[in-house]
Amino acid sequence: MSILSGTVELPSRLRFSIPAVWILALAVAGAACIPLVYLIVRAATADADDWSRVLSGSTLRLLTNTASLTAAVTVTCAAIALPIAFLTERTNLPLAGFWRSITIVPLAIPSYVGAFAFIIALGPNGSLQDLLEPLGVQQIPEIYGFFGSWLTITLFTFPYLLIVVRAGLRDIDPSIEEAARSLGQSAWGAFWRVTVPQLRVPIATGSLLVALYTISEFGAVSFMQYETFTWAVYLRLTSAFDLSGAAVLSLVLVGLVAFVLLIDWSQRRRARYHRLGSGAARRPRLVRLGRWRWPALAALSLLVIIALAVPIAVLFHWLSVGLGYGETFPGLWSAALKSVYVSALAGGVTVAVAMPIAIVVIRRPGFLSRLIDRVSYVGYALPGVVVAFALVFFALRTMPVIYQTLITLIFAYTVLFLPQAIAGLRTSLVRIQPGLEEASRSLSRGPWQTFCHVTLPLITPGVLAGFALVFLTTMKELPATVILAPIEFDTLATTLWGHTEEAFFARAAAAALLLLACAALPMFLLFGSDRELRT
């Protein structure tokens, strides 16, 4: 038997067999439903005006705007992430370790910082226009609206897809490709016909992460003044302080999310992706790039310049201006420590609680496990402020003593970012032959021992990917942090936001650069020299 049939230890009279993993998975899924329950309770107090506003024409515009942005961002992210994953994993690209790490770092740039930098650089009267004016270019494309939102969100979220696809690519048994080659396929043919289809789960999972993140994104769309659902929810709160109205709008958003999840559900077919036969998994043979290495390097450099160098240059500019005025930077180190501390905590806890869900989804496919899986996405797809208020509501009514402590905060991060951890885990878990776990159980190892000694070592890349995703996203999280953190618990993200809001740009830039450094360092450790991390 597999690890799933461990029984709950109860007095023998009461003993019945509910697999522990199901109980855990259901408990986590229940917690993930808290925002949804909150929205329903809040929406119940909405008045007729709130509902009639939803039925008005503006909702249609919000739907079109949100849907078109989400679709455009997702497709572009896939177009960026797939080639990078292939180049850095399967070719003899020079400095592959460096590229592997650096292409993940854009994830650490909060979208509001990125948007701000792009507006400075590309916006009206921006640096680019100053550069082009002598050449006779008077007007560059409007950055505000769809274009700027699309550009910003794409550049700072494609690593979600990249991390997941790369973990998947690493786990593929190269012997299948070799079999295709031996049957007469070219290298490209084998890649497109054998490898890419095997990547269906990671691609679908990563795309879903990007799509739902885009739906819940607030920083970039508010700077770019592009009217999406999330922005409308914020406006309802900040313009009318209307909690019920915001809840009604959020429920419409949940409808949109459910639609996206349904598309994804229908796309996933029942299929096995693990090997059945014996034989050791080996490293794949690297594709020789030859002269193609130059365009590859140029494309990667261009991406890194736009997504990293432009924002960093803007930040350094502000920092140097501030240093010129003798600006001081109080409290930055302590904020950095707190940021790294809560983010690592959130990463660890979220991966741990995501494990039961990932296990039932992969090992017990069926209606209930799929439902659990889908439900876990709700918090992730909702505006952060809504999730924060849901936890204000629940914590104060059930356990006021944990309100505005680290417990509520980490809980919020878990509800918000659970799908990222699950995504990391499932791409690895899907490749593991259940037979291995079954063999362990047949050798009288318990379910927990089997999990620790067989499953976990095999899914280390997935664990690391899940941890990295949650860690990076938590580093830049803002709305839940400002409301739910213990009082005076200033992180880099809150410090950065505070200084930006008051136009103390040198201080904001220092916080942003430190945030980037704190986020980038673990990425280099995890992914930089990572040939060793393979199992």
């Binding site: 009267n125 003044q225 909690l243 005076e488 505070g498 199992t535």
Partner: protein
């Protein structure tokens, strides 16, 4: 198959996880002990501040120093905090709400979570700078002005409505995504009506108004000679003058009594649920004291709101600016303003 390294990585990550969980539990129990202690103590005060630390941090420190009260403060966006207080209801952890604008205070007053302030506190400011029922009071003000070049604009326009004239084609800058600009448009809608406002916005676009992402680049652009006039808040100029006393620009007040001279305020309120209302009131009184008001005048270059302290020289006195018909609390109708800005083609 797992090799030795993977086993090691696993053990390391498990150890790390265990360590983190212990740290979390320890930290959480330490944290959770604090709120109950703070609520019973008489030398504590919890403030939710929509005004940022860079602006008011030193003032809070000074208050702690002279009152001996230990202030715990949560800085975040004014609107987020106001909504959070509404969601917390009578279980709120805040004693005081310190707001960047009057709209959020009005929302809390309407949500019936605010305590009435003593009459003498309310009476220390002009009637239009406090809630009619005494539930909140303004603490400082900021005015919309035209920033004009002292070198190229000898005769600044008397009204923002003059900026649509041919004379000003391509010479004016604005920041339509900025919150202060949007509050100004909200005021214009209220005072002059939707149609007039939309017409003005369209005419400004037709007159080649120059778009900026924020306020300070507008002031910079006037100084650099890129444009001659800009729509901004009054205090930006003082930041530039602090760095360069010769900075070639000046604040110009247009049409007092119309939207062009809008004054918005920051303000403060005490929550009904506060268990430290004595301390909360001490804080409110401190903000309205001579020392607090001088801080706003000198450090944040804002308008003081008590009559004992004058505005900075070269500023039109507060009392002459806002038209009596304008309700500061309704300036938060951002949704309507954004829709209008969209319809007029100012926003995408």
């Amino acid at each position: 198959m797992p090799d030795v390294r993977a086993g090691l990585a696993l053990r390391l990550s498990l150890a790390l996880l265990a360590l983190l969980s212990i740290a979390a539990a320890a930290c959480a129990s330490e944290e959770s002990g604090q709120p109950s202690a703070s609520q019973s103590g008489s030398d504590e005060l919890t403030i939710y501040s929509g005004r940022g630390e860079s602006l008011v941090g030193p003032l809070i420190e000074r208050f702690e120093e002279i009152s001996g009260i230990n202030v715990r403060i949560r800085y975040a966006g004014t609107a987020e905090l106001a909504s959070a207080i509404l969601e917390e209801g009578d279980r709120s952890r805040a004693d005081v709400f310190y707001s960047q604008d009057a709209g959020a205070l009005a929302a809390l007053a309407e949500g019936e979570v605010l305590r009435r302030l003593p009459d003498d506190v309310v009476a220390s400011v002009a009637p239009e700078l406090a809630d009619a029922s005494g539930r909140w009071v303004a603490t400082s003000g900021r005015a919309r002005v035209l920033i004009v070049s002292t070198e190229r604009v000898p005769n600044p326009p008397d009204s923002v409505f003059d900026l649509v004239n041919e004379e000003w084609r391509g010479r004016v800058g604005w920041a339509p995504t900025n919150a202060s600009f949007q509050a100004f448009v909200t005021a214009m809608r209220q005072i002059h009506g939707e149609d007039t406002t939309e017409q003005w916005l369209r005419s400004m676009l037709a007159n080649d108004v120059v778009e900026f992402p924020r306020n300070s680049p507008i002031v910079q652009a006037v100084g650099d000679g890129e444009i001659d006039v800009g729509l901004v808040n009054h205090y930006y100029l003082f930041r530039f003058l602090a760095d360069d006393p010769e900075f070639p620009a000046a604040n110009h007040f247009t049409d007092p009594g119309a939207a062009g001279g809008l004054v918005n305020v920051a303000g403060v309120a005490v929550l009904k649920s506060s268990r430290n209302s004595e301390n909360a009131l001490k804080f409110v009184r401190f903000l309205l004291s001579q020392e607090g008001q001088s801080y706003f005048r000198e450090q944040t270059s804002e308008y003081p709101v008590i009559s004992e302290i004058d505005a900075r020289p070269a500023l039109v006195p507060l009392a002459e600016l806002n038209p009596p018909s304008l309700a500061l609390t309704s300036l938060s109708d951002l949704e309507g303003t954004i829709e209008l800005l969209r319809d007029a083609g100012v926003l995408p």
